[in-house]
Each structure stands twice: as structure tokens, then as C-alpha cells.
């Protein structure tokens, strides 16, 4: 078991690489799987010292989170699109919002940044040096406090579960 641990220190990463390889190769033949596995093992080993040390748990939470974000992206897309179209007549109520954070993990915070970026309507603008808060620019917000609460519950909490 320890030998396997040594060879495959990050099984998730290895798995992801194998999947990406097979998808890229556009072929599900055995040789591609083996080749993918080969790279999936070698690359994490080679870049071990350059790679993040992330513990990722709770696969179910991950799946649910991905679906949530995906759904939110689509919905927000239409909202922001509409806002853009009507912007010549009515500007959105955009403002900066400070969101206090409990998440501390590097990768978790990176994931949060990804989420805020890909979900239209929010722009990650600043992170306090002690990671205790972030500054978001929000496209259209009426009530700052409820937005913060909504944001923390919907996006931060699951990440905390996953990464910590």
C-alpha cells in the first residue's frame, strides 16, 4: 500500500490525467489507457514539488456543487445578458461587496475564485492578506447582506466541506 502511495501520491490527479489523456486521444483503446496511465503516474511524480497539496474529499458534495454552479452560470448568463442589453437605458445596481471568509485552503480559495469568475455577475477583486475577507464586484445587488449570506452558503460552505 505504501509503495502504491509512493508511486501514486495523488490518485485523483492521476485519474484526472488519465481521463484527459483518453479524451484528448479521442480513442478508448487499451494502448491509450496504458499510455495515459503512464503519464498519469509520471507527471505528478515529476511535478510533485511544484503541485499543490490539496486534500479533496466528499465526492458527492463535489458533484452537487458542480451542478449548482453550472445551473447558476446559465441562469446568471441570461440575467447579465439582459442587463447588458438594457444597460443603455438602465444601468445595473453594481457595487463592491466585502465578503468575510472562513475558507483558508489555497486550492479552496482558488476554486472559489473560479466560481466567482465563471458565474456571470461577480468579479473577484481582492483578498485580504490574512484571507479573512474578499472584495467582490457584483453586477446587480439590492441587499448587500442577503447577498453575502447567499453567497457564503451557496458557494463557500461546500468548498469548506470539500477542502477542509
Amino acid at each position: 500500500m505504501t509503495i502504491l502511495r509512493k508511486i501514486v501520491p495523488a490518485p485523483l490527479s492521476t485519474a484526472a490525467l488519465v481521463v484527459i489523456w483518453v479524451v484528448l486521444a479521442r480513442s478508448a483503446r487499451l494502448e491509450q489507457f496504458l499510455l495515459g496511465l503512464c503519464f498519469g503516474v509520471v507527471i505528478p511524480l515529476a511535478t510533485a514539488r511544484l503541485s499543490p497539496r490539496a486534500r479533496v474529499g466528499r465526492p458527492l458534495v463535489v458533484a452537487r456543487y458542480v451542478v449548482t454552479v453550472g445551473y447558476d452560470v446559465v441562469v446568471s448568463c441570461f440575467q447579465v445578458a439582459k442587463g447588458v442589453v438594457v444597460s443603455p437605458w438602465r444601468l445595473p445596481r453594481a457595487r463592491f461587496v466585502v465578503v468575510p471568509l472562513e475558507l483558508r485552503d489555497d486550492v479552496g480559495l482558488a476554486a472559489l475564485a473560479m466560481v466567482t469568475t465563471i458565474v456571470p455577475g461577480t468579479v473577484w477583486s481582492e483578498l485580504s492578506i490574512d484571507r479573512s475577507a474578499m472584495l467582490l464586484h457584483v453586477w446587480d445587488v439590492v441587499d448587500e447582506e442577503s447577498f453575502v449570506a447567499h453567497f457564503k452558503k451557496r458557494y463557500e460552505a461546500p468548498l469548506k466541506e470539500i477542502f477542509e
Binding site: 442589453v85 444597460s87 466567482t116 469568475t117 465563471i118 468579479v123 481582492e126 485580504s128 475577507a133
Partner: protein, 117 residues
């Protein structure tokens, strides 16, 4: 062009049109909104729906073409989700910095150390 069934072609066509429309809207917003932070929002439309619909159209088209599931266009989607934030985060931070330097109005103060020490 493609040998796939019409429905698939229709799905792909709709997705492509969607992509085009969203890209147009995002570009429109990017050009005509007057505040930089406002302008940072519309590109997200293109980064997300604009590309996702193309990726799905690609998956549909290629899968039918090769009569096997071809997921590689999806890879573009996934990679974009990871990489796009880097530029956005840095650019927003840079804009904030420059606006603070210029002492522009309506710029929030630096966050500094907010939480409990």
C-alpha cells in the same frame, strides 16, 4: 458537410447561434459600458455560455460524425473554467490598485487585515 441526422444538426445550429448571440452581447457590453468594473462582467457571458454551447455543439457533431462519444470539445470548457479566472483576478486587482492610486471616487478601501488577529 455532416452526415448526422437533422435533429442533431438543428441542436448544433441552435447552440451555435446561442453562442454567437452571447458573444455579441458580451462584446457589446464590454464596449459600451462606461465603468471598468462593469465592463468586467459581460466577458463572463462569452467565457461561459458562449463557449459552452460551442463545446456542446462540437460534442454533438463529432460524436455523430465518428459514431462514438467524443468529449474533447468539453475539455476546452473545463480548461477555460480553470484558466480564465487568473487574468480576471489579476486584472480586477490591477484596476483596483490603479484606481486607488488615482484616488478615484467610489473605490473601496484596501481590505487589509479584517478578520480576528
Amino acid at each position: 458537410m455532416t452526415g448526422g441526422p437533422l435533429w442533431a444538426e438543428a441542436v448544433a445550429a441552435v447552440l451555435l447561434v446561442t453562442s454567437g448571440v452571447f458573444v455579441m452581447i458580451s462584446a457589446f457590453g464590454f464596449v459600451f459600458l462606461r465603468d471598468f468594473f462593469l465592463r468586467m462582467h459581460p466577458p463572463a457571458l462569452a467565457y461561459t455560455l458562449g463557449s459552452w454551447s460551442v463545446a456542446i455543439a462540437g460534442v454533438v457533431t463529432f460524436s455523430l460524425l465518428d459514431s462514438s462519444l467524443e468529449l474533447h470539445p468539453w475539455l476546452v470548457m473545463a480548461l477555460l473554467a480553470v484558466t480564465v479566472p487568473v487574468t480576471t483576478v489579476l486584472l480586477a486587482r490591477a484596476a483596483l490598485f490603479r484606481q486607488r492610486q488615482a484616488r478615484a471616487p467610489d473605490v473601496p478601501a484596501p481590505l487589509g487585515r479584517l478578520g480576528p488577529r
